[in-house]
């Protein structure tokens, strides 16, 4: 059986990769994909803990996380479509007009 720590390391690596993508990449779509990675790492953690403890709580939370993340991405893409109609760009730096 695969030990718990392997799953936790996988979760941590996914989370850090996702966070790095959000901070470093300048394309909005790739930022959104990196966000997914961050949230999926949480699901990995939750399911691993849930299996380790032998209760369902973690798995239930993971399902909630997956559903809510899907809603979040749908809204993000909707906002992105509205933005691209006004200004045809996907680069974060070109979107920015408010400063101060």
């Amino acid at each position: 059986m695969v030990p718990l720590s392997w799953y936790l390391v996988l979760g941590a690596v996914l989370f850090v990769t996702g966070a790095a993508g959000v901070v470093l990449r300048r394309n909005v779509l790739i930022v959104l994909m990196s966000l997914e990675l961050m949230l999926n790492s949480v699901s990995v953690n939750l399911v691993a803990f849930s299996h380790f403890f032998g209760d369902f709580r973690g798995q239930i939370i993971a399902i909630f996380v997956i559903a809510i993340t899907a809603a979040e991405v749908a809204i993000a893409l909707g906002i992105l479509v509205a933005l691209v109609r006004n200004k045809a760009t996907l680069e974060v730096d070109e979107v920015t007009i408010m400063k101060g």
Binding site: L8, L35, L46, I68, I79, N86
Partner: protein, 483 residues
């Protein structure tokens, strides 16, 4: 779960059910109703809020948990729900005319506002990290859409995009903390977590990591340093009424979960987060106060002002204990009145081609509109914390709680920084009273906006006159575990 438990749970969540059903009905009505039914929508939204408030009053009494301990109705939740109803009601009242001026009068606006309200209500009643997370996301998702409600304005699009990306990052961080806390304690129920952590050592690295992730995720939601950068952009780009709603209701709900998680679930590991939160609070007040000095857009200035106020309220959390909690709760109630009042005056400037969101737009305002200028003066003095107004007592009780707990240095720093903050509020007063007007003022004042300003003014002055009565109210509603 037997049938009786199900019925008890449904009754306990009655106000939430009323708001969600009301929002769904509004969505349907919006499909058939035409534009001229704007007033009907405002009235229907208000009716839903009032019905929910009545249901909440009916539930007052001994604390009761529902849904297997994931949801609770206690005085703490009821206090925050009343603040939320107040904020939503006033926001709806000031929305009608503004939406017409901006040509975005649509029924979805009110439905989303109610969905956001229901999310916040679930947050303040949540007794499990899962319920809190679900409520948090329900309010955030509704607010992302409302922020981007000017679909054809690039500033609004940009604000919504920044808000959703940074909001999702903070949710991710909070969830990662949640997963670690679940791994450490085997539960996500707040009371059980506190029991499980009672034997935990504060030097356990996994525990420190989990606490830091939870703190970080929550700090974002209240808009404190170093996760404040979304606040000014979102406040500037969003419709003004939504900015007002965000600054009071969203902040109150976020503080409610901060108080509940930190002082209930994480109470056994207080030494891990107290220093962290104290540093964050001081940095937040400092940044908010200094950066607000150079702003020219009033919505942006109020954004930095709200950052500074969030820092001040966090100091009440650092003080902890019953006095600290009560001071934060009173602070949020007072902040709701004075901030909605000042945003009401920003909304009223928006008419025709005048955007009215620059500070310079208020030049000489007192020469032509004495009454309104006086009202603005009261709100600004209250935000600055000048004695006869409510804002002074908000800060005063936080400082008293801090000093009683021995944090004298923190209290001194906070007072000095609020002197800096007073400068930019008084600058607007000076512009209004000392300069000659450069233009004629054409105000979008409706009876409902007048009502909002009157209620906000009454609240600001009333709490300033009877602060101890309201403090007793807050002290009677502190978390059950603190008693």
């Amino acid at each position: 779960m037997d049938m009786n438990a199900v019925i008890r749970s449904v009754i306990a969540s009655g106000p939430e059910i009323i708001v969600i059903v009301g929002a769904c009905v509004l969505l349907m009505v919006g499909l058939v109703a035409e534009k001229r039914y704007g007033r009907l929508l405002v009235g229907a939204t208000l009716a839903v809020v009032i019905a929910a408030a009545a249901a909440t009053f009916a539930l007052a009494g001994a604390p009761r948990t529902a849904y297997g301990g994931m949801f609770v109705i206690d005085d703490f939740a009821i206090f925050f729900k009343l603040v939320l109803y107040l904020a939503t009601g006033l926001t709806v009242l000031m929305s009608g005319r503004y939406l017409e001026e901006e040509a975005i009068a649509r029924s979805e606006y009110y439905a989303l506002l109610l969905f956001a309200l229901s999310g916040m209500m679930i947050m303040v009643s949540g007794l499990d990290l899962l319920t809190i997370y679900v409520g948090l996301e329900l309010q955030s998702l509704s607010l992302y859409v409302l922020t981007g409600f000017f679909r054809h304005d690039p500033r609004s699009n940009e604000a919504a995009l920044k808000y959703i990306i940074l909001g999702a990052v903070s949710s991710g961080i909070f969830l990662y903390g949640l997963s670690l806390a679940y791994g450490l304690t085997g539960t996500t129920q707040l009371t059980d977590m506190a029991t499980a952590l009672a034997h935990g050592r504060a030097t356990d690295p996994a525990l420190i990591l989990a606490t830091i992730f939870l703190v970080t995720g929550l700090i974002f939601k209240v808009g404190a340093v170093p996760f404040h950068m979304w606040v000014p952009d979102v406040y500037e780009g969003a419709p003004t009424t939504i900015t007002a709603f965000l600054s009071v209701a969203s902040k109150a709900a976020a503080f409610a979960i901060v108080l509940r998680i930190f002082l209930d679930a994480l109470a056994p590991v207080t030494e891990i987060w107290t220093v962290l939160v104290a540093v964050i609070a001081v940095l937040t007040i400092a940044l908010g106060s200094f950066v607000a000095l150079v702003q020219t857009n009033i919505k942006r200035m109020l954004a930095y002002s709200s950052i500074a106020h969030a820092g001040f309220a966090l100091l009440g959390l650092v003080a902890g204990g019953p006095d600290g909690v009560a001071s934060v709760m009173l602070y949020l109630l007072i902040y709701t009145f004075m901030n909605l009042g000042i945003f009401g005056t920003v909304v009223m400037m928006r008419k025709g081609d005048v955007r009215g969101d620059m500070i310079a737009d208020y030049t000489g305002f007192a020469k032509t509109h004495r009454g309104l200028a006086l009202l603005m003066l009261i709100f600004l003095f209250s935000l600055a914390g000048i004695p006869p107004t409510a804002g002074f007592f908000a800060k005063f009780y936080v400082l008293v709680a801090l000093i009683n707990q021995g944090y004298v240095a923190l209290a001194v720093i906070a007072v000095l920084l609020s002197a800096v903050a007073a400068f930019f509020y008084i600058r607007i007063v000076m512009l209004m009273y000392m300069r000659e007007p450069t233009r004629s003022f054409d105000l979008a004042l409706t009876p409902s906006l007048r009502l909002v300003l009157a209620i906000a003014g009454l609240g600001t002055v009333g709490i300033g006159i009877l602060p101890s009565w309201f403090l007793d109210l807050a002290q009677g509603a502190i978390l059950t575990v603190m008693r």
